[in-house]
């Protein structure tokens, strides 16, 4: 059940810093190890709850902020077909944000609290959305690479130990596949077009390739939360494993349409069956994460404006609901 109201008792118990009984922890871990799902009202360690709230909220915020780079091209999509597709994709992102906020709410955090954290800048969202969309080809590159990387990350999350998160991810993954395919289709068409169009596609790949690899997060050696998340079966594969999978499937897709992956060190390793790729610029990743990417400030400003510009709509809806229920009572 997705209700927040049902979940209040365990949440309060957990936040009171009560010492967790070893037998509760053992029972919980046995449950997880047996691949059984944890549901909102089940007992869970406070740290498991906190980790999930943080991860699901960040995920939701990413979907919401992720509407902006694409929204940039909505009024300038090259055809009505492309415009309808892009609009549907952006609506999906909003929907994904909402599925995820609901899932997080089952853990005892309120929607308002999460929204306020995003607006205050205290919550993180995926660093990828702090890059600008300079040309139409970027819409293709985002669908193909960014959504492609997201799918790699999200498919294992469908098997996450927390039931509501897992169910939200199943729904999301079904919809993401359309996102990736429409993006690749844009790239295919550009690559079949004029030299300028092909160059535009190559330029988009050049700019989005490395940030897409960074989406998988720090390398395993640097990743702070990985081991515990694996033991709790929130996470199923390490950051580097998922990144490698992404490179392995994406490089042939780039070559198929005659594009060159912007990595001089990229080579196929016959013995392992994997592509070896060059060093990622982690300084850039840390800078973007710290708020100094090209669009961090703009994204936050746009989000805050949208929220405050919508205040009168929320108030009007509430006033209307109050009026209707007063009339019904009379």
């Amino acid at each position: 059940m997705y209700t927040q109201g049902l979940d209040q008792k365990p949440a309060q118990k957990d936040t009171s810093k009560a010492i967790e009984a070893p037998e509760d922890i053992a029972r919980f871990q046995a449950h997880v190890d047996a691949e059984e799902k944890i549901e909102p009202k089940d007992w869970m360690p406070a740290a498991y709850r906190r980790t999930l709230i943080r991860q699901i909220a960040q995920h939701a915020h990413s979907e919401i902020i992720g509407m902006q780079p694409e929204g940039n091209w909505l009024t300038r999509a090259p055809t009505l077909r492309r415009k309808s597709i892009l609009l549907a994709k952006i609506q999906d992102e909003a929907g994904h944000g909402l599925y995820l906020y609901s899932a997080a709410e089952t853990l005892g955090v309120s929607r308002e609290e999460m929204v306020n954290q995003l607006l205050a800048g205290t919550a993180k969202y995926s660093s990828i959305f702090n890059y600008p969309t300079l040309t139409w080809a970027d819409i293709g590159a985002i669908g193909w690479l960014v959504d492609g990387a997201a799918i790699m990350n999200q498919i294992p999350l469908c098997r996450c130990s927390y039931g509501p998160y897992s169910r939200a991810m199943i729904r999301i993954c079904k919809e993401e596949s359309f996102h990736q395919r429409q993006g690749y289709e844009i790239m295919v068409e550009l690559c079949r077009g004029s030299d300028e169009q092909k160059q535009m596609a190559q330029d988009a790949l050049n700019r989005w390739w490395w940030p897409s690899l960074m989406m998988f997060g720090p390398s395993d050696a640097e990743s702070k939360h990985s081991a515990q998340s694996m033991a709790w079966k929130i996470k199923r594969f390490s950051n580097d494993e998922l990144r490698q999978k992404f490179v392995d499937v994406t490089v042939p897709q780039a070559r198929f349409i005659g594009l060159t992956v912007p990595d001089d060190d990229l080579e196929y390793d016959e013995s392992s069956g994997h592509f070896r790729y060059g060093e990622i610029d982690w300084q850039e990743f840390m800078d973007v994460l710290a708020g100094n990417g090209q669009c961090n400030r703009e994204r936050m400003r746009t989000r805050r404006e949208a929220h405050s510009n919508g205040a009168w709509v929320r108030e009007a809806a509430q006033a209307y609901a109050a009026k209707k229920s007063a009339r019904a009572a009379a």
């Binding site: 059940m1 997705y2 209700t3 927040q4 109201g5 049902l6 549901e39 009202k41 089940d42 007992w43 549907a88 609506q91 999906d92 929907g95 909402l98 599925y99 609901s102 899932a103 709410e105 309120s110 929607r111 308002e112 169910r167 939200a168 729904r171 919809e175 929320r314 108030e315 809806a317 509430q318 006033a319 209307y320 609901a321 209707k324 229920s325």
Partner: protein, 95 residues
């Protein structure tokens, strides 16, 4: 005007006629009518349903998982409620 969250509603969707409604997720809405609109926009963008129920989450009464073994205990030792409990002689048909 209060800045509080709109109430939470649970959303149940009938995928096609003949099937029962199934829990899909939840939405916030100022009133019942808006809850139905939001549920449609959030959970049926690809024709996932032919009918939607929404109910305020606070109206749902749920069993407590911590008590579930005691709660469901009465059914546990009544295996004679299942057809496989009964041994019938070989050769008897259509039963």
């Amino acid at each position: 005007m209060s800045n509080e969250d709109w109430p939470l509603y649970e959303v149940f969707i009938r995928a096609k006629s003949g099937l029962s409604h199934r829990h899909a997720g939840s939405v916030h809405a100022a009133d019942d009518e808006m809850a139905l609109d939001h549920a449609r926009d959030v959970y049926t963008r690809r024709n996932e349903g032919v009918s939607i129920w929404v109910v305020k989450s606070s109206h749902i009464v749920a069993s407590d998982p911590c008590e579930s073994s005691a709660f469901f205990e009465p059914a546990q030792d009544k295996i004679y409620r299942h057809p496989t409990f009964y041994k019938l002689p070989d050769g008897v048909e259509n039963i």
